[in-house]
């Protein structure tokens, strides 16, 4: 099966490949998939003032899975976290011309984005809870 030129380009020149430290402030990490299924995707976002200022990925999977996650990180940069949640797998399919057997790769990328956003939100909530607790302690 022949890959589209865009998939080949992302495979040869992956965008934003790498990692942030998971415990860094403002970083959200989403890891989805399973080695047994042949795909594991990690998407990370760095958020400042509700806007994604940087994104990274690492993927174990076929060329389409690599391209889907590489493309996702390109799209994430500059978006607000709410906008990021709106990214649909069908947009990835369209952009990369993925054939039907590879649609699951785009689904996984969408899941990874959502998982990263959820992780960021959870961390942000914890931080604000701690701050609130600290404020209430100092006020008493």
């Amino acid at each position: 099966m022949a890959y589209s030129e865009k998939v080949i380009d992302h495979y040869n020149n992956p965008r934003n490949m790498g990692s942030f430290r998971k415990d860094e402030d403002g970083v959200g990490t989403g890891i989805v998939g399973a080695p047994e299924c042949g795909d594991v995707m990690k998407v990370q976002i760095r958020v400042e003032n509700d806007t994604i200022v940087d994104a990274k990925f690492k993927t174990f999977g076929c060329g389409s899975a690599i391209a889907s996650s590489s493309l996702a990180t390109e799209w994430l940069k500059g978006k607000t976290i709410e906008e990021a949640r709106q990214i649909k797998n069908t947009e990835i399919v369209e952009e990369l011309n993925l054939p039907p057997v590879k649609i699951h790769c785009s689904v996984l990328a969408e899941d990874a984005i959502k998982a990263a956003v959820n992780d960021y939100k959870k961390k942000a909530e914890e931080v604000s809870r701690k701050e609130e607790a600290a404020v209430s302690v100092s006020a008493s």
Partner: protein, 404 residues
């Protein structure tokens, strides 16, 4: 060196130019039907077919009258399983095969199951070998056929067919062997192996596609089959249909060449294969051999590259024709059933690459392949979250993955 490089010889082989030369006259001036008994065109073709039959029979130490020409090994396997079961159904309703057989045996066995035949699919050892004791233990008084391959098409493991042949003989059970990957690559002697039926084909041994044979023993015991095709009664009534004379001539020539050159060729190919394995292992940690370390076809090398997905790897070396046990494109997402049967984890099965070396493989191609594999695996490991986690000391087996 020319690109792309072909390193998928288990899948098929190019016709040897000497084979093509032998075939050519039989497309044009020598076009007779070998079944035409009344004119020289027919006699000429019949003579060519009989010569080919002798060349093929000699390679496997059979009598030329014991060969039935088919369209290929898939048809031979179907004819052996279905033809034997239909003929001997009164004697019993049980057959034995293994979990790592080619689909051309597994699927006919499944079709027979639907018709009420009981099938035992033997499991294999870690190296991919069937244990002869398991065969013995699986035999019942209803067993009418044992069907096991000589060498596996994915991992190249050579099975102890001779030992199993003795058990079959002792118990008086017919023994079929799918020898498609073994014939022409390793010595095959139907008497020594003790097989009663044997499938093989021309295109795996530098002959043309579309022709194969089923060896059917004539004496001690005389094996009978119910044919799949009704028609002119060719091939002792077991396979009707006009003999494709050019293909048969090519098949014969291919077998003759294998017989003459196998001894030196197999040493040369095994040396290149060993160099490939060593070159890869020297530079890539966590590369695991699938199959048997020694009882293996000379041209076979099957390796799992941990933390890297096979299809992505093939994409990285797309100027080299290889095959992967990954099933990223299949609807089920199930990786190779052969590797799974060996107890290889799904993750490593997804990471497997099969290298198939053959007659026209060169040292230069092997060196190029080593270099390209190292580069591609490192590129993908750099990208792999699993590799990163493993390097951080995370035991991947303890991670709770969200299977999808």
């Amino acid at each position: 060196m020319k690109l792309p490089i072909y390193m998928d010889y288990h899948s098929t082989t190019p016709c040897d130019p000497r084979v093509v030369d032998a075939m050519l006259p039989f497309f044009t001036e020598k076009f007779g039907n070998s079944a035409s008994r009344n004119h020289s065109f027919g006699w000429e073709s019949e003579e060519a077919v009989e010569l080919a039959r002798k060349q093929i029979a000699r390679l496997i130490h059979a009598d030329s009258k014991e060969l039935v020409f088919t369209s290929g090994a898939t048809e031979s396997d179907n004819l052996a399983l279905k033809g034997v079961v239909e003929m001997y159904r009164q004697k019993g309703d049980h057959i034995i095969t293994s979990a790592t057989e080619h689909r051309a045996v597994i699927d006919p066995a499944k079709a027979l199951e639907k018709k009420g035949i009981k099938v035992t699919y033997l499991s294999v050892e870690k190296t991919g070998r069937v244990n002869p004791d398991d065969v013995r233990n699986a035999i019942t008084d209803k067993t009418i056929l044992i069907s096991l391959m000589l060498a596996n098409n994915e991992i190249g493991t050579i099975h102890p067919i001779k030992e199993i042949g003795k058990i079959a003989k002792e118990k008086g059970i017919l023994f079929h062997c799918d020898a498609t990957q073994g014939v022409g690559k390793i010595p095959v002697d139907v008497q020594d192996l003790g097989v009663d039926l044997m499938s093989f084909s021309a295109h795996k041994i530098y002959g043309p596609k579309g022709i194969g044979a089923l060896y059917v023993r004539r004496k001690a015991p005389r094996v009978r089959l119910v044919p799949m095709l009704d028609g002119g009664g060719h091939e002792r009534g077991m396979r009707s249909g006009t003999i494709p004379v050019p293909l048969v001539v090519g098949f014969g020539k291919a077998c003759e060449l294998c017989e003459q050159e196998m001894a030196t060729e197999s040493i040369r190919i095994a040396a290149m294969r060993d160099r490939l394995e060593e070159g890869i292992n020297a530079s890539l940690e966590e590369s695991y051999l699938n199959g048997h370390p020694t009882e293996r076809l000379p041209g076979n090398l099957n390796i799992s590259f941990a933390y890297v997905e096979g299809e992505a790897l093939l994409m990285g070396v797309k100027e080299i024709a290889l095959s992967s046990g990954s099933a990223c494109t299949s609807a089920t997402l199930e990786p190779s059933y052969v590797l799974r049967a060996l107890g290889v984890g799904s993750d490593l099965a997804h990471s497997s690459i099969r290298f198939g070396l053959g007659r026209f493989t060169t040292n230069e191609e092997v060196e190029y392949t080593i270099e390209r594999m190292i580069k591609a695996v490192n590129h993908l490991r750099e990208m792999s979250p699993l590799y990163e986690m493993a390097k951080e000391g995370v035991d991947l087996k303890t991670v709770e993955w969200a299977a999808h």
